[in-house]
């Protein structure tokens, strides 16, 4: 019985091998871009590849943060069934590369000049051990304010340049009877806001040392305490019902004019676009006060797996198309992020996009482009989640003082390392 089965399997795989002897003109792609705007953005890539004769096979796993997709990917890789590529975030790419399942795109990278055009900070996640293992699709930055212009005009506010001016602006909104700050009380949103607060309070050098290098001296410093105090100050401006709210509902509060401002990554712009709002006339995008000149980023990457020879051509085509200037522009215009290479023309982008691109270029050249700890680009997931725990417990009152918060942060990060 067993022997028959073995023979059958051998025959079957033999047949499969024969059928695969020619190049497979198919790209198998695992991703979680299933919602309207994101799916539309991905369609641009599908059409690009279709023109070159490559079929597209989706392995979509819905769910915004990609947790479900990552679980599915783990199962696929464990079974030796690698997709051509998978949407991946930050340290996941490096984890898989360390496990030895990623492909090598260095040849393509050299030919296309990725080394020069992709910011060095991003290459930390797309290059492993000198080999290109992933193609960055976009760069999101999280230190943004999204403001409803009508409300801003009503209360007579101007762009806040410092944290104190920001607090004064929030006070104005409160006095006018508007919810000053729209926040979704989920741990990643709170931590995303705290990323900006830390950058604003301690400056770029401090942010890098604390949240990218995880330097304990900085983590338990007075500057970090002050950052927590500043966060506590901001939390007094949210509505009582904020706990557990989804980020897009918080954005909707700003769009509708119920709230003045949201601190959120530039994916929030997609919501404004979907509501047919124009930057400059309906809403305003400012850098988080005191963080102008620095960019705290996260980036979507297409991790490229070590697929069999006959599927490599399709993989190279996918990677080349992903980092082509035309796709980078077309995709990011729809998605709300900015291109992952700094030499893409900004003609098609709106005002916020243009600013985002200029900021990225400047930050990349000036060395002020930092990975967002909340978004998993500052440290591995265990540390990032421990950080989110502490920030969230501080916001919701399980951790009562900034002294305690700093101690907890140091312990939690030490524990997770």
């Amino acid at each position: 019985m067993l022997r028959k089965l073995l023979i059958g399997t051998a025959l079957g795989s033999g047949l499969a091998f024969a059928a695969h002897a020619q190049d497979v003109k198919e790209v198998e792609m695992l991703h979680w871009w299933t919602s309207g705007g994101e799916a539309a953005a991905l369609n641009v890539l599908k059409e690009d590849l279709a023109k070159q004769g490559f079929a597209w096979k989706d392995v979509p796993v819905a769910g915004g943060g990609g947790d479900a997709a990552m679980t599915a990917l783990k199962a696929m890789v464990a079974a030796g069934n690698y997709p051509t590529a998978s949407q991946m975030l930050g340290y996941t790419v490096l984890d898989y590369a360390a496990a030895g399942v990623m492909g090598d795109l260095t040849e393509t990278a050299v030919k296309e000049g990725w080394d020069k055009s992709v910011p060095a900070a991003l290459q930390k996640f797309s290059v492993y051990d000198g080999k290109w293992v992933a193609a960055p699709v976009n760069v999101h930055s999280v230190n943004w304010l999204w403001i409803n212009k009508a409300v801003m005009d009503k209360i007579g506010g101007t762009e806040p340049k410092t944290f104190d001016e920001f607090v004064a602006l929030l006070d104005k909104a409160k006095a006018a009877g508007v919810i000053p700050l729209a926040l979704g009380g989920q741990n990643w949103q709170e931590a995303t806001m705290f990323d900006s607060v830390v950058l604003s309070t301690g400056g770029p050098e401090f942010y890098k040392k604390a949240f990218n290098d995880l330097d304990e001296e900085q983590l338990k410093s007075d500057t970090m305490k002050k950052s927590f105090d500043n966060l506590a100050k901001l939390v007094t401006y949210v509505d009582p019902n904020f706990s557990g709210r989804d980020w897009n509902l918080a954005t909707a509060m700003v769009i509708k004019g119920d709230a003045l401002v949201q601190v959120m990554g530039d994916w929030a712009k997609g919501e404004f676009n979907a509501a047919k709002k124009t930057p400059g006339t309906d809403f305003l995008c400012y850098r988080f006060p005191g963080t102008d000149g620095s960019v705290v980023y996260n980036s979507d990457m297409f991790g490229m797996f070590d697929v069999p020879e006959d599927r490599k051509a399709a993989q190279v085509a996918l990677a080349t198309a992903t980092l082509s200037k035309s796709f980078q522009s077309a995709f990011n215009v729809v998605k709300g992020s900015v291109p992952a290479r700094t030499d893409v023309p900004d003609t098609d982008f709106d005002a916020c996009g243009k600013k985002g691109m200029a900021d990225l270029k400047a930050a990349s050249e000036g060395g002020t482009l930092f990975g967002s700890l909340a978004q998993g680009y500052g440290a591995p997931p265990a540390v990032a989640n421990a950080y989110k725990d502490v920030v969230s417990k501080f916001v919701h009152g399980q951790i009562k003082t900034s002294d305690e918060a700093v101690t907890q942060l140091v312990n939690a990060i030490e524990d997770a390392k």
Partner: protein, 318 residues
Amino acid sequence: MTTVTTQIKLTPEHGARPDVSMRSRLQDALPKIVLAPSFAITIVFVYGFILWTVYLSFTNSKTFPSYTLTGPRAYQRLWRWTFESDPPSSWYTSITNMGIFGFLYIFICLALGLFLAILLDQKIRGEGVLRPIYLYPMALSFIVTGVAWKWFLDPGLGLEQTLHQWGWTSFHFDWIKNKDFVIYTVVIAGVWQASGFIMAMFLAGLRGIDGEIMKAAQIDGATTFQLYRRIVIPLLRPVFLSAFIVLAHLAIKSYDLVVALTSGGPGGSAWLPSNFMYEYTFKRNEMAVGSASAVIMLMTITAIIVPYLYSELRERPR
């Protein structure tokens, strides 16, 4: 599992006789053949993976399973976290929540289920309509229950908002947003879902009680309260046990209810051990810690189920 092993023990003596025809031999073997696949699948996919999880909990597995044993480090961390109550560690929150949720959920479901069953058992008209109405929530998945109750309990959308619109503006009910009370909203939703099912179990039990005993008690002058207190409820003991087991395992695995209802609660204050396990294994890439917490959950269930099985098996010879 027990049935399979007894059959295996029984059959060889039959098959050993030479005059048994092919047909009857096949008939003897049939139950074994039919059960073999499911038996094998259970062995591998339940017990095999339990052992695998136990093994992983003693390794330093992170994103992927690693097979080098590194000792009980994961358990030591969990043990340390067990006593971190201020500010509460995620594990401390998870297990205290399990205690609160498990106790209230089981207790209220049993009490409410019994109460509803006794009321329905009063030979009332329209029982056929009422019974499915109570039973229906059990047909919903935890996700649906969670989302529906999330909207209902949300102060900005549901009950509080509605009552404010009706004019009762001092009404205040924000448990779902409150770190100290959010676990009780999980109890409310869980009880709403399961108590109808428990009612059906008790109703079946009540219908199984001999009417003669009731009549005899009534002739002896027992009041209705005494009748239930002294006769009916003691007779329902087996139903209590079954209902308890059903509720206990529902309680320990109600991961999806917490996620759908509270998405973890403010600052993770609604976590149960199952949420902890998933979070650590799949989101934080701390597979060893996740496995260790899963083993502890299994031990907890075992501590409940084994005495039950023991008492059931002991009673059989009577």
